[in-house]
């Protein structure tokens, strides 16, 4: 059987990021591997401290080194080996091939430049256009994100949160990157504005064929926008697969815990099932499985050995040694109506 070579936009193998500080070593990301196909959207899910932002920044080597130390087998973006590139070459990749929307876009805009100038800056640098041409394109981008081009000369403080966010998206997409990394792009926004912005991102993604990594803790957004999902806990990927695999056939106890913690609009009667305890301190990770101290299905072996990656069929993998036993399953069951 021929092994189909997928057309990958991103190929990361065994990425680990640690920070060597005076107070100890912070193991932020531990052995993360990602294979993202072109035009697809990957949801990177986890709570605060899981290591999602560090992972995303490491992809573009935006982690300060030192105190950060990036180790990996490879990071390849659209065929380019990121770890082998010189800083100057990396600069031409950032903003052009791969673009990032950082957390809290409210503070991502420079208050002393107009929004038009900030969008144009990216275009000037990467597409080597004249200031005039770049500004004209910037106005086009503003219109694209639903802001009247006549406002291009205005400053960030003259816009609302939702509009600032759209300007940030315009900057990120100005040079038509192949891969967009969006770190909690709608967390700070009101829910109706969030809806507008998510809709916009979906449209632009389709129009430009952009691949996307969407970092979020909101499983509702993942359900709406993503094709694939990776769940992170204490710097590791604990479960990954397609949207259907992870949502409808959930395997990892932590993922189950996340679903149990969120109030579901459609089911208000049931009590919330929070996960007891807290995520471990990244300077002091437990010996075996990082989730063991909080896991309702924990066994003695979990505390001693790192969990194995078990293949659950299709693209679905789970880092949980309990699945070595073919009879084991978690309680969560989603009934999907037969077509």
């Amino acid at each position: 059987m021929r092994n189909e070579k997928k057309d990958l936009i991103l190929d990361v193998e065994n990425l680990s990021v640690r920070f060597e500080t005076e107070d100890g070593v912070v193991y932020a990301t531990n052995g993360v591997s990602i294979k993202l196909e072109k035009k697809k959207t990957l949801g990177l899910v986890g709570e605060t401290g899981a290591g999602k932002t560090t992972t995303a920044k490491a992809l573009m080597r935006l982690v300060p080194e030192p105190p950060g130390v990036i180790e990996c087998d490879k990071i390849v973006i659209d065929g380019m080996d990121i770890m082998k590139m010189r800083p100057k070459d990396l600069e031409s990749v950032r903003g052009k091939e791969i673009s990032m929307i950082f957390q809290d876009p409210m503070t991502a805009l420079n208050p002393v430049f107009s929004v038009g100038e900030q969008i144009a800056e990216s275009i000037e640098i990467h597409e080597k256009r004249s200031k005039k041409d770049a500004f004209a394109k910037a106005i086009e981008m503003l219109e694209m994100v639903g802001i009247p081009g006549s406002r291009a000369h205005e400053y960030p403080h003259q816009f609302s949160g939702g509009m600032k966010q759209r300007v940030v998206i315009a900057i990120a997409l100005a040079c038509n990157p192949k891969l967009l990394v969006a770190d909690e792009p709608t967390t700070a926004l009101d829910v109706t504005i969030q809806a507008q912005v998510l809709e916009l991102m979906k449209q632009l993604k389709q129009k430009y064929d952009t691949s996307m990594i969407l970092i979020t803790h909101d499983l509702g957004i993942v359900a709406e926008v993503c094709d694939d999902v990776m769940v992170m806990y204490a710097g590791r990927i604990v479960e990954q697969g397609t949207l259907e695999e992870v949502f409808n056939n959930t395997k990892h106890p932590y993922t189950e815990g996340l679903f149990g913690s969120i109030p579901n609009i459609n089911d208000r009667k049931s009590e919330l099932q929070p996960i007891p305890g807290l995520m471990p301190d990244p300077t002091d990770l437990p010996k075996g499985c990082s989730f063991a101290p909080r896991c309702p299905y924990v066994r003695q072996s979990c505390k001693e050995e790192q969990p194995e990656h078990c293949h659950m069929g299709g693209n679905h993998y789970v880092a949980c040694s309990a699945y070595k036993d073919p009879n084991f399953h978690i309680r969560r069951r989603v009934t999907v109506e037969a077509e």
Binding site: E199, D218, N264
Partner: protein, 317 residues
Amino acid sequence: MADNILEVKNLKKYFKISKGMLHAVDDVSFTIERGRTLGIVGESGCGKSTTGRSILRLLEPTSGAVIFEGQDITKLKEEEMRRKRKEMQIIFQDPFSSLDPRHTINQIIGEPIKVNKIMTDKHKIENRVLELMDTVGLAERLINTYPHELDGGRRQRIGIARALAMEPKFIVCDEPVSALDVSIQAQILNLLKQLQKKLGLTFIFITHDLSVVNHFSDDIAVMYLGRLVEKAPAEELFNNPVHPYTKALLSAIPVPDLTHKSERILLKGEITSPINPPDECRFAKRCSHVCDECYKKEPELRELRPGHFAACCLAKC
């Protein structure tokens, strides 16, 4: 006859600014029965936090009445209001800035007891603090720690313990879980529910998160630009929303369920200004059901079905 612990009548809070008068809370009225939870929802700038604070007179209302257990507290003098505050408490949103970083847990939770001279003996106060810590699920050994040594979830528990110190009847929870991670949110929400049952508390639960408010409220009031646009029992609001804004708000919630088919109502434009608002429906400019009536005057809050109120010209039909 319902036992209404709180009745808010025509509450207004305006702020005078250089550009004119900012109508933060504009003629809001509602009642809450003892032992129940009223959720107040809306997006940034709708006036929900200002409403909560005005009810407790943390901000002085511009006009209107706040009738707590039959008494209009807006008319109370400072000393009387201080005594009343034992019965009406608040839990703040930010578990970081709402705690004094230079006080230990013991001092933070004990402060209301000391200040109100409920107890004066140091050991008695400490025992009471330990009792409260136990009630909210904080380990005894943390009693002499400082807020910065603890995570958001534990800090919020300190805020709750402090609010309970006076054995209040009524607590305003101002976005108490918004700053917390999902699994910690769930822990705190469950705690609040248990406490309500155990102590017979009445809550106002202010939040922008509709899934949370659905889970935690008996009745829900929706606010938009300072006005109360709809109020109904929680399930009724979710199943039969009347006001176009409520409908848009509900449809905007992303649901973590692949079997759910969402019919998203996207609002056009941006929120209008709360400064010197004209006498018309404040939602008119963004509403897909707008008609001439909407621009003639502010729609009144009308009771459509028992317990279900809406301020919309559609509510006539």
